[in-house]
């Protein structure tokens, strides 16, 4: 499948979950395809990084369900901040663990999962739709984190086969399997599509993070996480993140022309070519 095919299957107003974490293994090729599409009024669910900022800057976001938005090496994303400070998007702000629980509940077809996270804070006050529940095994009150059902999930992995088995070589799989499990349609971009027989030669069995029940479509997207990291292949492109974060106000138009409103080959050329990005060492935090 191509990125155009992915966009063609999505609709205005959908709830879309985006895998990865902050500036780590974000499906940015797919995100850029959304950003230059005519899609609108999206609800985005994310441990946010430049995926959120870019979709905010291009006016795609009606509502954001999130625990944070950060570029990791640059603490705050200016594009997300701009829409928030303009009061331009609706939010559902969650504790990071609550977000995980919401995806997990959706994945395993439960209406909610209980937790203490969020109680006694404004996460509870500002989300009146999130209810509490009394434990049936005692008297304790717990927060009932509702299932976060997704229309679509976008994630990026190192390798996948044509059938939809996905391999993550990075040391943290984040919550990509939960995003896929919580979604009706699951789109997995990868650095390289490989024959099934190669998967276990490329990494130990623990790296096979996504099985075919969790995936509908595979899209080959070399450097598909750039400017976020996809270790061990490449680290965070801090220089590019600085360019991205510096592209505020009128500067965004230039950034968008140069890096968003282009096809994938043009993008790789614009960021300096494949060899340059693949030489970025793994990021140290």
């Amino acid at each position: 499948m191509t990125t155009k095919d992915v966009v063609a299957e999505l609709r205005d107003g959908m709830t879309i979950g985006i895998g990865g974490w902050g500036a780590r293994r974000k499906p940015m090729t797919l995100v850029r395809a959304l950003a230059r599409s005519s899609l609108k009024d999206l609800t985005i669910v994310s441990y946010g990084g430049p995926d959120v900022g870019m979709l905010c800057a291009t006016g795609k976001v009606r509502k954001l369900i999130f625990g944070f938005v950060s570029l990791d090496l640059i603490p705050l994303d200016p594009h997300f901040r701009a829409v928030r400070q303009a009061g331009a998007i609706e939010i559902m702000e969650l504790d990071e663990g609550m977000l995980q629980w919401g995806l997990k509940a959706a994945m395993i077809r439960l209406p909610f999962l209980p937790t203490r996270a969020g109680l006694a804070t404004d996460v509870q006050q500002l989300n009146p739709g999130i209810k509490t529940i009394r434990s049936p095994y005692g008297s304790e009150t717990l927060l009932a984190m509702p299932a976060l059902e997704l229309d679509a999930a976008l994630v990026h992995v190192d390798h996948a086969d044509e059938r939809g088995n996905g391999q993550i070589l990075g040391d943290d799989p984040f919550f990509d399997d939960l995003y896929c499990g919580a979604a009706k349609r699951r789109y997995v971009s990868c650095e390289r599509i490989v024959p099934t027989a190669e998967l276990t030669t490329l990494g130990c069995i623990h790296t096979l993070a996504l099985n075919r029940t969790l995936v509908d479509a595979v899209i080959e997207a070399p450097l598909g996480a750039h400017p976020t990291m996809c270790t061990p292949k490449y680290g965070i492109d801090l220089d590019h993140l600085k360019t991205y974060a510096g592209a505020t106000g009128d500067g965004w138009t230039t950034y968008q022309q140069q890096f968003v409103d282009v096809d994938e080959a043009q993008y790789i050329e614009a960021i300096g070519g494949r060899a340059k990005i693949e030489s970025i060492p793994p990021t140290v935090f």
Binding site: R84, D95, E96, T121, D171, P173
Partner: protein, 256 residues
């Protein structure tokens, strides 16, 4: 006691005390001073502490801050991807020190936004894991800029829960909630005042109680016989300067 120390060194030593007697739990120091403090605690009086590498690995020793020296590879003793972090912190086997933007007299803290929820004046990070941290395991705080804008009457968004009795429904478990230590550029404080309100424990050398009160928007409790914050020992300064922060990144913390 050594004479040749900086405010950053003093704060690192004071913050390290948060993890005394913590045993084999994950010590998470978020931000430079808390991270160095966790490392100091690990290398001195709390050898059982676990440290992570900022990503998903448990490092057997504190990793020096800043760019890694050529050839340096930290010794890894475990794997801790984010999903295991959440399990670990919900199980209580962690003590985190973070840097809140605002804190009130009950220890409610804010790291999310300043202003109104629907249109904040300043959008910050978001609540991150702070709601789950504060209700599940011990938490401590470092405030590098103790002043009326950080020590406020009421935080704009309660991201981490404090001891405010009005915020706790009677049937919510509170026994996993513990705010332990609060270190600032002026003083060391805790939450052992009346009703667990913020209390001054010691004043940094040269700082008066009046100064701390002037910089705080709410009334402060004070421990009986409030003394001076202990200054770093020669050995503590050696560990900080030679082992944990050889590039002296801490020099930038109080530069302004």
């Amino acid at each position: 006691m050594a004479d040749d120390y900086t405010l950053a060194d003093l704060c690192i030593v004071a913050c390290a005390e948060a993890w005394r007697d913590d045993g084999d739990i994950l010590a998470s120091g978020m931000g430079l001073i808390p991270r160095l403090a966790a490392g100091l605690a690990r290398l001195t009086f709390s050898p059982g502490l676990l440290m992570n590498d900022g990503e998903c690995r448990l490092a057997a020793e504190p990793i020096p801050v800043g760019p890694r020296a050529p050839g340096y590879e930290p010794q890894i003793e475990g794997w801790l991807p984010f999903r295991r972090v959440f399990e670990l912190l919900w199980s209580g086997r962690r003590h985190a020190m973070t840097i809140p933007t605002q804190i009130d007299r009950f220890g409610n803290i804010n790291i999310s936004f300043i202003g109104a929820a629907d249109k904040p004046k300043v959008q910050l990070l978001g609540v991150r894991g702070i709601p789950g941290n504060t209700i599940n395991h011990p938490c401590s705080f470092f405030v590098p800029n103790h002043g009326p804008r950080s020590f406020v009457h009421e935080v704009d968004m309660v991201s981490g829960c404090g001891y405010d009795p009005g915020r706790w429904a009677p049937s919510v478990r509170r026994d996993f909630h513990e705010l332990r230590l609060l270190v600032t550029n002026l003083a060391v404080l805790d939450f052992q005042g009346p009703d667990h309100q913020v209390r001054v424990r010691s004043l940094h050398p040269g700082v008066t109680l009046d100064q701390v009160r002037e910089q705080t928007s709410f009334p402060l409790a004070v421990v009986d016989g409030v003394g001076e914050t202990p200054t770093p020992t020669t050995e503590q300064l050696r560990i900080i300067g030679e082992v944990l922060d050889p590039k002296n990144l801490r020099a930038s913390v109080f530069k302004s």
